[in-house]
């Protein structure tokens, strides 16, 4: 019987080896991922430990918008968000069992101090026997612009559905990002976990989705603001600002019996108008006919050059609930569909961030920069460890010449077109309104995109008002959205 016993011994050896290898895998190789709060937010051991350690701050213009303060209850530190709802979608939240959101999630390793870039500081802390400190994160946000955007939306009521994004055109730095309705991250980060959980459940159950970051997560028809892309495609394909295009009050759509009309069935004026005039009055007939001439593919390519179809250029706020949605032009667009798509209807969908990038690209001589939110990684002593560089998304979405022409046309829109409400004394503002039809039963969406100063722009803004609980006929890009954009631009320009 000894041979089988020896074989049995070998089998036992294999079994015990398997146990040891598996334990090593679990406690060594897999340990990093299992103890990462961003990957496994329900690991309460890590969360408990994190509640007992000083976590780095998130800074805007040198001031903390998320910070850990000393606490004397069950845990040593309490995470607080001094500006609450204003920065909620940017800071995200730091909770024990409900996961992390926003920058708290995206920059978790820096804030805890575990990031490789903070390794040297951690070693120094350990050698000096000091408690390890988390690193700090500085954002690209301009506090004044953020406040203007938040106040602007808030003025329409706390339950208004909308979003504002402001970008520095030359760099892609995000200067403001607000989504409404918002929430208070303080209600989730408290140490009373039962209350935090019920607050969280309430936010999740809210039909308006306060946890959603409408600036990046939600795509909606951009309406007339998409005419900027149609105009860019036209200017790149032989049109000039003075080209005569179809005016009038309706356009017969090929292959159908339907007519494309203007907003409120108005007429754009004479049967032929200039391209500049068409943009001034946001003439559906004119841009529909341009769409028919250029064809869907040219429009789709132009949209893609500004970033449509992609969701890989912005990851700073990726968390368990939030992901950048790709804006879409739509596929298999037929001939009449090209006319509808050219005015931002049919299947065209865009995020406010995407529309801000369109404005920023035009403002930046046709070069579209990758938007980003994290400016610097700093040590606990606020020494700059890493400065995030700006990156180009598309070098030539349009040529510099086309960008100049389009800018002039947008200036004209603000000076004598639909967007006079966005004028700032002493500054040339370029802009475009949009009022997108979703369904006959639902109120239209009000859009406004702009940048200023027209020459050498410092800020490009997109504003979306999805539902403001106002009369249907009062909803317009110029009436609701443009004043907010104007306030944000003034905050950046200090005018």
């Amino acid at each position: 019987m000894n041979r089988p016993i020896r074989n049995l011994a070998i089998a036992c050896l294999v079994m015990f080896l398997a146990l040891m290898i598996n334990a090593t895998y679990l406690q060594y190789w897999q340990a990093g991922s299992l103890t990462s709060l961003t990957k496994h937010p329900d690991n309460v051991r890590v969360a408990d430990a994190a509640f007992d350690e000083p976590r780095g701050a998130i800074l805007v213009d040198g001031r903390a918008i998320a910070q850990s303060i000393k606490s004397s209850d069950r845990y040593k530190f309490l995470r607080t968000y001094p500006d609450g709802a204003e920065y909620a979608h940017i800071t995200g939240y730091f909770t024990r069992t409900l996961g992390l959101g926003g920058i708290e999630s995206g920059e978790n390793s820096v804030l805890t101090g575990d990031d490789p870039s903070l390794f040297v500081n951690k070693v120094i802390d350990l050698l000096g026997n000091a408690a390890p400190q988390g690193g700090n994160v500085t954002l690209t946000i301009n506090a004044n612009a953020q406040k203007a955007a938040f106040d602007g939306l808030r003025a329409l009521g706390p339950r208004v559905q909308g979003a504002v994004v402001a970008i520095e055109p030359a760099t892609g730095r995000i200067l403001a990002m607000v989504s409404s309705p918002s929430f208070s991250p303080n209600q989730l980060a408290g140490h009373d976990f039962t209350t935090a959980k019920s607050n969280y459940d309430r936010l999740l159950a809210d039909p308006l989705g306060p946890l959603n970051n409408r600036a990046i997560e939600q795509t909606l028809p951009p309406g007339s603001t998409f005419k900027l892309i149609t105009a860019a495609a036209a200017l790149s394909h032989g049109y000039t600002p003075n080209s005569m295009v179809l005016g009038g009050s309706s356009l017969k759509l090929p292959l159908t019996t339907k007519y494309l009309t203007n907003e409120n069935h108005n007429s754009c004026g004479p049967a032929k108008i200039t391209l500049t005039r068409a943009l001034d009055v946001s003439c559906n007939v004119a841009f529909g006919s341009i769409g028919l001439k250029l064809g869907a593919q040219v429009l789709a390519n132009q949209a893609a050059a500004f970033g449509f179809g992609r969701n890989d250029y912005f990851h700073d706020l990726d968390d368990q609930l939030t992901r950048l949605s790709a804006s879409e032009f739509g596929t298999n667009v037929d001939q009449p569909g090209a006319a509808l798509s050219a005015i931002g209807q049919l299947n065209v969908r865009a995020t406010p961030l995407q529309m801000a990038m369109v404005a920023a690209g035009i403002a930046n001589n046709g070069e579209v920069m990758q938007p980003y939110l994290v400016d610097e990684i700093r040590s606990s002593d606020l020494d700059v460890i890493k400065q995030i560089p700006s990156k180009v998304l598309t070098a030539h979405a349009i040529s510099a010449a086309v960008a100049r022409e389009l800018t002039q046309m947008m200036v004209s829109v603000v000076q004598q077109g639909t967007a006079t409400t966005a004028q700032i004394p002493g500054v040339q503002v370029a802009g475009k309104t949009g009022t997108a039809q979703s369904a006959p039963s639902r109120p239209p969406y009000a859009w406004f995109v702009s940048f200023a100063p027209a020459e050498s722009a410092q800020v490009a803004v997109a504003v979306l008002i999805q539902d403001a609980n106002v009369d249907r006929n009062q909803i317009s890009g110029s009436g609701l959205a443009a004043p907010i954009a104007k306030a944000v631009m003034r905050a950046v320009l200090k005018k």
Binding site: M1, A18, L19, A23, T24, Q27, L34
Partner: protein, 473 residues
């Protein structure tokens, strides 16, 4: 360790195999030295738990340490007088594991949450350990020759079956955590399956030692392997049905796996026919598939194993255990400084992840190595044992430990689907602890017989144990 256990001397018994050429030394001094080390581990861990949780050594450290030492020394003295040639490494291993288990159970007792409030599992575990050591002493004192057990083959088998059926009886049977494997008699409750596994080893060994020749007859040859004859399949089919019955009626996947695996291994060892492994493997696969298809219990375990982090995954416990072990990392949080109580049943089935959290990978590997060493000593005993019944008993008992450790440790570390079994000597639980001490006593009894020098075939009468010496010329 194994080399130190025997000393190559020149005494040779004519006609003996290579393993019988040497005479084993008693090595009781080495055992005592190792026991002191094991007590340092157990009592040291107990003190560290108090320091870690409360910042001071436990008030009852001396009492606890003295009791633990007294039990271990009692076991050691019993071996000295009743089984002086027994393997010297087994008792220290068991003592270290038991001491470590007590410390961890005490640690969970001290945890503020996640535990029945006010319970003192460590104290009751120490009582159970006392009973276990009493059982150990009783076995070694009353059973002077393991071969006497062979005459209880069918009694043991019948008793095992009765014990396995007891929990199904209304009135005394009780379902705990989904498995109907407990019986309650007044204030006492225990898992008869734990005792049954000892009886089954004896029954299997007694049965197989008689029938191994018939069972070893070759039938059809398929792919280099002689399959058994069809008419010999009766016993394995019967055992297969019993195992399936345990799974279906008691919802006890772990015991079901262990009993069938135990029988299969002993069948293979006794017949030396790999063909039985093929037959057993096929039966296992069929049974496992049938179990998976028919019982939601098994399905839940498999799903929880494949996708523990899934949204609707039923494996909260497994996930918490994995989090704990990952949180422990290489060196652990330190005794008393983790949160093992976060994992449900952290003091029993999931005690290894608790130890992994606080002692780290280092501690887990050390514990697994202790088990590996224990199994190795058991198999070595089987190897050197002179009688077939003893070989089978020792191999069977070693297999019980090996399978049980593999199934439970593999389960809680997500190597295999989770099945409920206790971790030998570590887990809180009386029946398991007592049964395992009895197993160790039986193993040492066989080991004593195996390592004891054979009767001298020499000119000179031996100066010791001379009553048994047979003069050959």
């Amino acid at each position: 360790m194994s080399r130190a256990g025997r000393t190559p001397t020149t005494k040779r018994a004519p006609g003996a195999g290579p393993l019988m050429e040497l005479v084993h030394r008693r090595r009781r001094g080495a055992e005592l030295y190792l026991l002191v080390l094991s007590l340092v581990v157990g009592v040291g861990a107990y003190a560290a738990v108090g320091l870690g949780v409360n910042g001071q050594v436990p008030a009852d450290l001396v009492k606890h340490g003295a009791w633990l030492a007294a039990l271990v020394v009692a076991a050691h003295v019993t071996i000295r007088y009743k089984a002086e040639y027994a393997d010297p490494v087994v008792l220290p291993i068991v003592s270290a594991l038991n001491g470590l288990g007590l410390a961890m159970i005490h640690r969970i007792d001290l945890a503020p949450t996640g535990h029945p409030v006010g319970s003192n599992f460590a104290a009751s575990q120490l009582v159970w350990m006392t009973l276990g050591v009493l059982g150990f002493i009783t076995v070694l004192t009353s059973l002077r020759d393991h071969r006497r057990l062979q005459s209880f083959t069918y009694t043991a088998g019948l008793a095992a079956i009765v014990l396995l059926l007891l929990p199904l009886l209304p009135g005394i049977g009780k379902t705990v955590n989904g498995a109907r494997i407990w019986i309650h008699l007044g204030p006492m409750s225990f898992q008869p399956g734990e005792i049954a596994k000892v009886l089954l080893v004896i029954a299997f060994a007694g049965y197989l030692v008689l029938h191994r020749d018939a069972l070893a007859l070759a039938g059809r040859r398929v792919l280099f392997v002689d399959l058994p004859r069809g008419r010999d399949l009766g016993p394995i089919l019967a055992m297969w049905l019993v195992s399936l019955g345990i799974l279906v009626f008691q919802n006890d996947l772990g015991s079901s796996l262990m009993f069938f695996g135990l029988f299969l291994v002993m069948l293979y060892v006794s017949t030396e026919r790999p063909g039985w492994l093929v037959v057993g493997g096929v039966l296992f696969a069929v049974g496992a598939y049938a179990g998976y298809v028919t019982t939601a219990h098994v399905q839940a375990r498999v799903h929880g194993w494949l996708d523990p982090f899934g949204k609707d995954s039923p494996s909260y416990q497994l996930v918490q255990a994995m989090y704990g072990m990952a949180w422990g990392g290489l060196t652990g949080r330190g005794l008393g400084q983790g949160s093992p109580q976060t994992t449900p049943i952290s003091w029993s089935d999931f005690i290894l992840p608790s130890l992994g959290e606080e002692l780290g990978l280092t501690g887990v590997i050390a514990i697994i190595l202790l088990y590996a060493l224990l199994v190795e000593r058991g198999l070595r005993t089987a190897l050197i044992c002179r009688d077939n019944f003893g070989k089978l008993v020792a191999a069977g008992l070693a297999t019980v430990f090996a399978l049980q450790v593999f199934v439970v440790v593999g389960g809680v570390t997500r190597l295999i689907p989770l099945t409920g079994l206790t971790t030998p000597f570590l887990s809180q639980g009386g029946s398991s602890l007592v049964a395992n001490w009895v197993i160790v006593a039986l193993l040492l009894r066989v080991s004593d017989a195996a390592r004891r020098p054979p009767p001298e075939f020499s000119d000179q009468p031996a100066d010791m144990d001379s009553t048994q010496v047979v003069m050959m010329r």
